[in-house]
């Protein structure tokens, strides 16, 4: 009986090792190894992993092979008598020194990659990345171009009410667009808690830390759309803040950048402080601001989540004086997940979203104008 079990164990071992080996061999499949690397750093990491992986597989087979041999040949049930040797200094020195040498062999190429990865000098362009709960903001430094990047997967797909798209949870409204073949330096920070910007195909994972700026870099070999996710637990919607990078040819990038600058100018022009707003206009525009920024916590139906995120339907702030409501949105609530929206949204957007909140879900508490927000900003 026991012998049969041990053949089973040996069989399991034999089956699992090719499973491990598969991890080393499959180049194309994303399921058993790293995603196909598209930057020099990702290539280096890939090769480094292959090296150390195979060393581990070989040692594993050697050691567990020896154990398996003992299990089969040195068993009491076939009458094997125990030897009584122990302590052998020579052997003990050998099995200390050889691993040391192997480790040194791995440490050398690994150190080179560490130094290479840290070299953010002489970039062709720099982009500032800011992590927020739960979205990314990209700022093309010295270009006047900046935008938020939100999850584009609709709630219906997440709640299993609609079939899921091929890029389920890995799609955003505004991807980061970069030129291929150029060294792109990222400066990373965060507005609330720690996030981590990770694109597996780039071999880049860098924490975005509130109050500090860290940098990293990448250079994409070939055009394409590359997808990643926030890698540091950052609260409720940590699993819902993907990263999408579109790498395009330098010429296409120039065209894209020019378009962005143009639409940016148009947007600023539309923000006319003297404009007189109607409540309906504000509510309509506010719905968009709300779903992009507020619905994650306070929910699309304004009910919040009991004991965690307060309901806005009939909520004390919402039905209270306008000034308090504006201040809450502008400055956030210390010690809670409610951030200060002042630095992130302009006066018009804040007025829109507050008016939306005060006039939705059965609320009817009057409108707030951009001028009122502006007055309270100071």
């Amino acid at each position: 009986m026991t012998s049969k079990w041990f053949k089973g164990l040996a069989l399991a071992a034999a089956l699992m090792m090719p499973g491990l080996a598969l991890a080393g061999v499959r180049q194309d499949g994303a399921s058993f190894n790293f995603q196909t690397p598209v930057t020099p750093v990702a290539h280096d990491i890939y090769n480094l992993h292959q090296l150390i992986f195979w060393i581990c597989v070989i040692i594993f087979i050697g050691v567990f092979g020896t154990i398996t041999y003992s299990v089969i040949r040195h068993r009491k049930s076939i009458g094997h008598q125990a030897a009584h040797f122990h302590e052998n200094t020579t052997i003990e020195i050998i099995w200390t020194v050889i691993p040391l040498l192997i480790l040194a062999g791995v440490a050398y190429p690994a150190s080179r990659v560490v130094v290479y990865m840290k070299d953010t000098s002489a970039p062709d362009m720099t982009i500032k990345v800011t992590g927020y709960q739960w979205k990314w903001h990209y700022d093309y430094l010295n270009q006047g171009v900046g935008f938020y990047s939100n999850l584009a997967t609709p709630m219906e797909e997440i709640n299993n009410q609609k079939p899921k798209d091929a890029n389920y949870l890995l799609a955003v409204d505004h991807p980061l667009v970069v030129p291929t073949g150029e060294k792109i330096r990222l400066l990373l920070t965060a507005g609330d808690v720690i996030h981590s910007w990770w694109v597996p195909a780039f071999g880049v994972k860098q924490d975005a830390i509130p109050g500090f700026i860290r940098d990293t870099w990448f250079k994409v070999d070939k055009p394409g759309t590359y997808r990643g996710q926030c890698a540091e637990l950052c609260g409720k919607n940590h699993g819902f803040m993907p990263i999408v990078v579109k790498a395009v040819s330098p010429a296409d990038y120039k065209t894209w950048l020019a378009d962005q600058k143009k639409s940016g100018t148009e947007k600023t022009a539309s923000e006319n402080p003297d404009k007189t707003w109607t409540k309906d206009e504000l509510v309509k525009a506010g719905a968009k601001v709300y779903s992009a920024n507020c619905a994650a916590c306070h929910q699309a139906n304004g009910m919040g989540i009991p004991n965690t995120f307060p309901a806005l339907k009939d909520g004390p702030i919402v039905k209270g004086p306008k000034e308090e409501h504006i201040k809450t949105v502008l400055h956030g609530v210390k010690g809670t997940a409610m951030p200060a929206w002042g630095p992130r949204l302009n006066d018009t957007e804040i007025a829109e979203v507050i008016t939306y909140e005060r006039n939705s879900w059965g609320n009817n508490f009057g409108m707030v104008t951009p001028a009122e927000v502006k007055a309270l900003r100071k």
């Binding site: 041990f6 399991a12 150390i52 049930s77 125990a82 389920y168 890698a231």
Partner: protein, 531 residues
């Protein structure tokens, strides 16, 4: 079990001066007996293991399919965070203390622990910490949802559940430190005449070293969470950049505790395995002294590697290199241990009762966990794998499988001594094979998920991860269900079964086998002499 502790039935000592202990519930509340307290620890651990396990089963149910089905994302974070905290602080750590309580006095020829009353107190403190931790689920806003690591500033956003977790950690930490002081004092002072340090069983050595690690790092954790508490309530800004603090400092302090903590949860396991393998190989441990030195080196190195948990925070190249080299170096003493176990089995006379099966299973899972650890030590590779399922797979191989399997091996090994009965060998073997097979089905694919780019701590995932997540869930459920067998085996064994001999295992060595089975209430009233 009851019979095991009634001195009259095992009347080996002419008199029993301490036999006048209370009976019924008061016996258990007021007990100062190391065996009773050991049993209490086991009961506590079993309850918490059940709770922590149910949290894990719920996590795997949510992750069986993409999309949100069973829990809300916020509650999912509570599940993962509390699963980690419960399993670490109220399962693995106290489980090793349970073994220490039962075995250390018996293995060194002492009557009891050095501080029996403190022993009682550290147990009941642990229980109150455990209750506080479980109670935090009912706090407004729910339990801690910032991960078992409770990184600032996310943990500063949490509700009162976080404060309860902080206090629970304080209380459990005090309990751990008291336990450690007790263990160190016992080992250093109460050894039988003739038992020099280098004649101590390896399990005793491993706990001596672990206890020093605990005393060194638990206060560091207490400091970190206290700073968190002050930031949350008393206006300090230790971890708040806006007030001049640094969120990364929390990680440095936390992992200065956290990495030695990892070894706290595995070193006693090394000790247990070093007892079981020679016994069933009928051959002495190959290199006793090198095993002791390897334990000590691992313990010392564990203080020099903490920042390998933080390679992605963006530290200077020099720091990355230092922590990478130190981490890789740990592979050397760890290798020495594995080679020693292998050499012990070599040319032995092996038999495969359940303890030995779990010991060999331990080597299998620990080697996989160790090698993935070595792969993770390489900083550039780690940066790619950090916070992915690869890491989840890695530490579950080390913590669940290796720590847990070492304890299962030891449990089956010593159950006859504790209860006076043999356990059901067939059920034991079923328990092993089901655990081993389902564990590997459940956790091996996690490495592939991590390599392919699935982050950890997410309640929902992209479609390409679906198939492997299904396999993981099935494996995890099977592994969870298999543990019911253990409960059956232990209860059956405590209630009856074939009478166990004083030394039921042919190759077993050590003082615990020189006393009757079940072990009398007070093992050695006159110290044995070790030659």
């Amino acid at each position: 079990m009851e019979a095991a502790h009634t001195p009259d039935t095992t009347h080996v000592h002419g008199h029993d001066a301490h036999a006048h202990h209370p009976t019924g519930i008061m016996r258990w509340l007021t007990t100062t007996n190391h065996k009773d307290i050991g049993t209490l620890y086991f009961i506590f651990v079993a309850c918490m293991f059940l709770v922590g396990g149910l949290l894990a089963m719920t996590i795997r149910a949510e992750l069986f399919s993409p999309g949100m089905q069973i829990v809300e994302p916020a509650f999912f974070n509570e599940l993962t965070s509390m699963h980690g905290l419960i399993m670490i602080f109220s399962v693995i750590m106290p489980a090793f203390v349970a073994f220490a309580n039962w075995q250390i006095p018996m293995m060194i020829g002492a009557t009891d622990m050095a501080f029996p009353r403190m022993n009682n107190m550290s147990f009941w403190l642990l229980v109150s910490g455990g209750i506080l931790m479980l109670g935090s689920f009912f706090a407004p806003g729910g339990a801690n949802a910032a991960g078992w690591t409770m990184y600032a500033p996310l943990s500063e956003q949490m509700g009162p559940g976080m404060d309860m977790a902080i206090f629970a950690i304080h209380i459990m930490g005090v309990s751990s430190i008291m336990g450690s002081i007790n263990i160190i004092t016992t080992i250093l002072n109460l050894r039988a005449p003739g038992m020099t340090m280098m004649k101590m069983p390896l399990f005793v050595w491993s706990w001596l070293i672990t206890a020093y690690l605990l005393i060194a790092v638990i206060p560091v954790l207490a400091g970190a969470v206290t700073m968190l508490l002050f930031d949350r309530h008393f206006g300090t800004h230790f971890f708040n950049a806006a007030g001049g603090g640094d969120p990364v400092m929390y990680q440095h302090i936390f992992w200065f505790f956290g990495h030695p903590e990892v070894y706290i949860m595995i070193l006693p396991g090394f000790g247990l395995i070093s007892e079981v393998i020679p016994a069933f190989s009928r051959k002495p441990l190959f290199g006793y002294s090198s095993m002791v030195y390897a334990l000590a080196s691992i313990a010392i190195l564990s203080f020099l590697v903490w920042a390998h948990h933080m390679f992605t925070v963006g530290m200077p190249a020099a720091a990355q290199l230092f922590f990478m080299y130190c981490t890789m170096l740990i592979a050397v003493p760890t290798g020495v241990k594995i080679f020693n176990w292998t050499a012990t089995m070599w040319k032995g006379s092996l038999s495969f009762e359940t303890p030995m099966l779990f010991a060999i299973g331990f080597i299998w899972v620990f080697m996989i966990g160790g090698f993935t650890g070595l792969i993770l030590a390489v900083a550039p590779v780690d940066i790619q794998m950090q916070d992915t399922y690869y890491v989840v797979g890695h530490f579950h191989y080390v913590m669940v499988a290796a720590s847990l399997f070492s304890m299962y091996a030891a449990l089956y090994y010593w159950l006859p001594k504790w209860t006076g009965h043999m356990y059901d060998e067939t059920l034991g073997k079923w328990h092993f094979w089901l655990s081993m097979i389902f564990f590997n089905i459940g956790f091996f694919p996690m490495h592939f998920l991590g390599l392919a780019g699935m982050p950890r701590r997410i309640p929902d995932y992209a479609l390409q991860f679906t198939d492997l997540n299904r396999v993981v869930s099935i494996g995890a459920w099977g592994f969870g269900a298999a543990q019911i067998l253990l409960l059956i085996v232990v209860v059956k064994c405590a209630r009856g079964g074939a009478k166990a001999a004083d030394k039921p295992w042919e190759g077993a060595q050590g003082l615990e086998w020189t006393i009757p089975s079940p072990a009398p209430y007070h093992s050695f009233e006159t110290p044995p002499v070790v030659k």
